[in-house]
């Protein structure tokens, strides 16, 4: 009864989600004129940034692991 995904699987999922969210956030930005999409764009941008930061933290953990294991 273990969770089947490893830390790196979650990191991959975070990377994919973060990319999708960042691209969407940029495309629906008021600067591109796509103002007719009825969602809270500020929150979308915040969540995209949050996912990206969490993914970068997982990358930092990976780098730290590589450095300490050698």
């Amino acid at each position: 009864m273990n969770f089947p995904l490893s830390f790196w699987d979650i990191s991959l999922l975070l990377a994919v989600t973060a990319i999708i969210l960042l691209i969407t956030s940029e495309l629906v930005s008021p600067y591109y004129g796509k103002t007719n999409l009825i969602i809270n764009k500020k929150r979308l941008r915040n969540i995209a940034l949050a996912f990206s930061i969490v993914f970068l933290i997982t990358v930092a953990i990976r780098i730290f692991d590589i450095i300490t294991s050698t």
Binding site: M1, N2, F3, P4, L5, D9, I10, L13, T17, L21, S29, P30, Y31, G33, T35, I38, I39, N40, K41, K42, R43, L44, I47
Partner: protein
Amino acid sequence: MHRARISLIHAAITAMLTLGVAAILTSIAYTSSVLAFIGLGLAFWGAILLYIRPEEYTKKVLLEAVLSPSLTTLNEMIQEFAYKGDATYLPPKYFAHPGTTKIYVSKRKDASLPAPEEIQKYENQPVARTTQGLLLTPPGTQMSRLLEKSLGTSFIVMDLESLQRKLPKHFIENLEIAENLEIQVENNKTCKKTDGTTSPLLMKNTTIHAKITRPIYEIIFKQTEDSQQSNALIGCPISSAIAIAIAKAAGKPVRITDLKSSEDGNILEASYEIIEG
């Protein structure tokens, strides 16, 4: 229809979250990574959609229909009372409460502004008629308050430079009033002397040009532009809100000197003059 769409979004979000959690629990029970990916994906996206779900929106056409008669009434009232002077946005120094904003339209053309004490007598009235002029609440009052709320500060504590720098971001990103806003400040140092000749640096008139791209009220702006037959340019809610911001930031009376829109109504230009002295 709108309510049905909102409840459909809620149903979709609930289904995604429920299925996601169920898939994660099943993946733990059967040690299936595929189910875990599906579960996490559904749960993530369900939570994201729940977080970014739409706010309450009103159709633009309804807003324009509601707003249009009040602006027409305002312009007709000025014409009916035969006020010949310019509409001047008064700065906070004219009022006992600095947050108050009013437009003063003088009875005669080229009449000077009354003293602040005179204005303060009528400060709490939405519309006040005096022998010399008319005191009105501008159509952009509430929008300027929204902008101040978004900025987290009052225009009174800002100067023109910071207004020019900060206002477009809140105009475009936070309130989504327009797709773009460009503010240009021009110091016109040439002024006529009493003998009719021009002399630089005699008096400094500041002119501000605002270029608004694809605003939310483009039809209202066009109607305002067409209905302005008197000298008093009050403007639409957007141009009026900018005039209020300028009057508060500069601490001086402001006039809208020109309002024009492009053929398709997508680009609107407003010119403001800060009255020195």
